[in-house]
Amino acid sequence: MKQKLTNFQLYKLLRQNDKLKNKRHPMFEKNKFAKFMGYFMIVYFAGILMLLGATLPLAFESTMRSMAAFHVLDSGFFYLLIVDFWTRFMFQETPAQQIKPYITLPIHKNFITNMYLFRNGLTLGNLFWMFFLVPFALVAILKYYGMAGVLGWLFGYWLLIVANSYIYQFCRTLILKKLIWILLPLVCHAAIVLATILPETNTLGYLFTDWLEQCIFWNPLSWLPQIAVIVIFFLLTRKLQAGMIYKEIGKVEEVVVKNTSDIKFLNKYGAMGEYLKLEIKLRMRNKPVKQQFFIGVAFMVLFSLALAFTSVYDGAFMTSFICMYSFVVLGMMTLVTIMCHEGNYIDGLMSRRESIYSLLCAKYYFNVLLLLVPFFITLIPIFTGKIEFMMSLGYLLFTAGVIYPSIFQMAVYNNSTLPLNAKLTGKQGNWVQQVVSLVAMFVPLMIEKILIVCLGTTGGYAGMCVLGLIGLATHRIWIQNIYQRFMKRRYTNMEGFRSSRQ
């Protein structure tokens, strides 16, 4: 006699499969180490948020005497949600919907999508802002409304963050479909920011304050907007994802090659030209790769333009941070998973002599050439005297000659294939790659500051140029070194690539 599983039993079974998937992932051992590193980073950021949470109420009270500190935060809570929304792009991927193996089993087709969406809403990551909000509430609310008020306010904010996570899920899914959808959150956020800044009276701010104050009193009506947003965006995302997943599994989408005789000028570079073409086509003909690439380029251009034309990032630290970021962001997003896409055809590559070396060289040339984009854009703030020429040149060469060689080391260790054409049914990145991204983002700043302290501003940037030039000049040597180390690990890597192919 057949025994039907309850939904909870089914959830447990699928959860167990997910756990096994992680445990048996080719990069599990490395993930364990990177997880350890990741925890350090979490503690570091949590410490900063706690410090901010404990000190901001005092700062608000001393500067805005007519308002309670929590009213100030409530009136501008939207800024917190905007920061939360955009940082999710760095740390939160769309759920890797491992739906394929279950598609022909007698499981309701919405069950798995629901499961991943529920899990995403209830993830511990949505509690991260509590490191900021709890100390803030203890300092700003406890004395007026006691512990019940603190808990009510925190619950209201948690609901807001969960609602924000569902809006993010929806937008991220739309963006996966077509990159142009990135304008939706951009325009909405800009509109709300303008609505709070432009009018003489910040009516919206007052509305927010009144609404969130009701959370303190545990007024259920104050939760309704959040719950409504959660339900609406849950359903919208489910509908959107379900359509995309079935399209992906059915392989309905076909790339129409309009022009196959392109990039002819690379023909004169022989085999290297072919690998360069391969790199360009990898980025242009595989939707997730293309999207990741264009988002990276968009960030690169946006940061450069912001630095050139606005005063948003004035101040020495932010200027150098944004300048550096406009150079590093693309590599940070696309190179940490170096070789993972090639895992799909690694056997073909490995049966050709020194193909991995040539491929790595082509990847390097391609990425270094792209660095000229932010370099040319930053010529504008250089001419207006906003940043020094040496700063831009220093970051250009430092990225090409130091940061890229460091990220390229991942080519030796990455051994998990990333699907070329699956977006929602594909796999997520891993901890190692996320830690490397963070290191690539902050270590150059530290090196810059150390060099400037030791050698002065111009001397510091000159030092970065020298380090970068050394890396550039010796690129064949260090790429050869990476290639040789890759070849030593070839059996492990090939096995990993094969076993993680979809």
Partner: protein, 243 residues
């Protein structure tokens, strides 16, 4: 080019995938590898091409290449890639290229000129049946049969002295099966290349392979000289299911 296998062993956990004490595939051999699923055919091919690590033993390629005597262990050098063409499965294909682009890519990195490539592709016109070239379709959007054809043709672009094809008759319709049989025999005859193919199709294997190795649990249990299809009966007896 001779392929010399010595004391070659590969286990997957407790299971022995390949265990071959001594076996030489001579220059110019057209060797068919037969055996049931799990007999170790693909594993042996991957070991010959250094795509997986052997637990013990060596695979050497010995012979003449560009008028020089060579004797190399495949795991210590990449030289063998200069004269070896292969197609095992889709993991060999770069599926976001069109067949035309893929052939051009392989030709370029193997040092084959555009003219030579065009001449090469002309030989396979009947085999491609007008469904492969000039379609403006990515390899990933081709049918299984056409992917198989792309893989086989690409493996032969560099005019290899050693050609390794795993299950080349799979997916192919009868006309294409006949075409590939003819192509392989012709290529072997004209170039003297060493060709290794594996197949579950005994008829095709005995039709074209003068030498057949029968694998069971990773061991070559019979090395059969096949003259005028003489191996057919022996193989049929072996594979016959008896109660």
């Amino acid at each position: 080019m001779d392929i010399v296998i010595e004391n070659l062993k590969k286990n997957f956990g407790e299971k022995c995938a390949v265990n071959i004490p001594n076996y030489t595939i001579h220059s110019g051999d057209l060797l068919g590898l037969v055996g049931n699923n799990g007999a170790g055919k693909s594993t042996l091919f991957r070991l010959i091409m250094d795509l997986i690590k052997a637990d013990e033993g060596t695979v050497r390629m010995v012979g003449n290449f560009q008028e020089q005597q060579v004797d190399i262990d495949v795991k210590t050098t990449e030289d063998w890639k200069e004269w070896t063409g292969s197609f095992i499965d889709e993991g060999f294909l770069i599926d976001y290229l069109t067949p035309d682009e893929y052939f051009a890519f392989v030709a370029k990195i193997c040092g084959v000129s555009q003219d030579a490539l065009e001449a090469h592709l002309a030989l396979y016109e009947r085999f491609m049946n007008g469904e492969v070239l000039g379609q403006k379709k990515l390899i990933r959007n081709l049918s299984a049969v056409n992917k198989q054809k792309v893989g086989i043709i690409a493996a032969m672009i560099q005019q290899p002295k050693v050609l390794i094809l795993d299950e080349p008759f799979n997916f192919l319709d009868p006309s294409s099966q006949s075409a590939i049989k003819h192509i392989l025999q012709q290529y072997n005859k004209e170039t003297g290349a060493t060709i290794l193919i594996s197949s579950h199709n005994l008829n095709h294997t005995t039709d074209i392979c003068p030498r057949i190795a029968l694998l069971e649990n990773g061991v070559i249990i019979r090395d059969i000289m096949n003259e005028n299809n003489s191996a057919e009966k022996e193989l049929e007896e072996y594979f016959e299911i008896k109660d």
